[in-house]
């Protein structure tokens, strides 16, 4: 990797730096020069590997692809495959990001398609009635309901209760509930209940 200085080291110089070389204390540029000499000099190579047998593998840095004598034809289709990959990348690059992301994950695409098919199948096969929830309980009609006590009768309105709820078929509604205590009638209450579509504000 990178430019390698040549002819900077001879056997004597390698010898004098050998200890530092084996202890990994030679700075990178000089180290590259030393390696170059060591890989080409049988005497220095023998000395180095005698001290550290794993230095045996350092000459693998000079290996070329293929068997000896196989030549540059080992690279014949190398570029063609890269060019093909680059073309694919370029066509993907022209797509919107989400499409690109999904296209690069065919398994995800297949899973999503399967999920959609299953969901459509379930909805289509179920009888329409089953989609509706149970009927909500009927609101009891109390005696005197719908007749708010006249102010002169001394009726005491309690604070109104407002609840936002959803019907079983998921429609939002607002329930306004207001109770009145009727004086002199024990615990008798009159209750006013209004169920209003969620879109309306009262």
């Amino acid at each position: 990797m990178g430019g390698v200085p040549t002819d900077l080291f001879d056997c004597a110089r390698v010898n004098s730096y050998l200890e530092a070389y084996l202890l990994d204390r030679v700075p990178p540029p000089e180290r590259r020069g030393m390696r170059l000499h060591i890989h080409r000099c049988p005497a220095c190579f023998a000395k180095v590997t005698a001290r550290d047998p794993l230095q045996l593998f350092a000459p693998l840095a000079d290996q070329k692809r293929g068997e000896p004598g196989s030549g540059p034809q080992v690279w014949e289709s190398f570029w063609d495959d890269i060019a093909e990959g680059v073309r694919k990348e370029e066509s993907l690059g022209a797509m919107p990001r989400l499409v690109r992301w999904v296209s690069a994950r065919p398994a995800l695409l297949a899973a999503a398609a399967a999920a959609v098919i299953v969901a459509v199948g379930v909805v289509w096969l179920r009888p329409a009635g089953e989609l509706r929830g149970p009927e909500p309980p009927a609101i009891p009609v109390m005696a005197g309901a719908g007749v708010p006590p006249a102010p002169e009768s001394g009726g005491m309105p309690l604070p109104p209760v407002v609840e936002a709820v959803r019907t079983p078929d998921a429609r939002p509604v607002t329930v306004y509930s207001m109770a009145y205590e009727v004086p002199g009638a024990g615990s008798t209450q009159a209750q006013l209940v209004l169920i209003v579509d969620g879109g309306l504000e009262l």
Partner: protein, 201 residues
């Protein structure tokens, strides 16, 4: 002589011809690093190709003030480590028993003789060394193998390896130490002739 900087600059502008030249310039080292980590030629070729395709799409992020090789080798090394991890999750191949039966006292394969070696001898020596390395490096974890390849074969400084592997220098040193210990043990067990040479030395 091809000017690497200008090729990179042109490739950043999506010049495919410049990119092809850049691939020619870097393919040997990309293949070699991948091969020394994964130990299989076909896999190493695939990894190198994928690394170049990734390089094409990320080259715009490369800053001219950085050194190109460590930046690019980060892609290669990470792909190789991932590949080795996935492969090891599958059925593990046992280390092959060595094929040659070195005679006691014979010159170990892969060590140059004192005679001036021909180019063919040097290449054969590397092929032999490659086999030995591949044989004994199966014991290493992907990270140990990557750290050893970068440090002891490619000669990359520890600091740069830490950047390539996105880890701390102390972690790299630990990987290196464990790798060296495991490789020495395996070399001693399977290829003792290299240690006889050490004793003689």
């Amino acid at each position: 002589m091809v000017d690497e900087r200008s090729l990179i600059r042109r490739a950043q502008q999506k010049d495919l011809e410049a990119f092809e030249q850049l691939v020619r310039l870097k393919r040997e080292s990309a293949f070699r690093v991948a091969f020394n980590i994964v130990g299989d030629e076909d896999d190493a070729e695939d990894i190198a190709q994928v690394a170049f395709i990734k390089l094409w799409s990320s080259l715009r992020q490369f800053n001219e003030n950085q050194r190109f090789d460590p930046w690019f080798f980060r892609i290669v090394v990470n792909l190789a480590i991932d590949h080795l991890r996935v492969r090891r999750r599958g059925p593990q191949a046992l280390p092959e028993e060595r094929q040659d039966d070195a005679a006691p006292g014979a010159q170990p394969a892969g060590v140059p003789s004192a005679d001036p070696a021909s180019q063919a001898d040097v290449e054969l020596m590397r092929v032999e060394l490659r086999k030995v390395f591949n044989d004994i490096a199966r014991r290493l974890t992907p990270q140990q193998r990557a750290a050893f390849t970068l440090r002891e074969i490619e000669g990359v400084p520890t600091e740069e390896i830490a950047r390539i592997m996105s880890t701390r220098q102390s972690t790299v040193r630990n990987h290196l130490m464990s790798a060296r210990r495991a490789l020495q043990e395996e070399l001693r067990r399977r290829y003792p002739e290299y240690f006889r040479m050490k004793e003689r030395g």
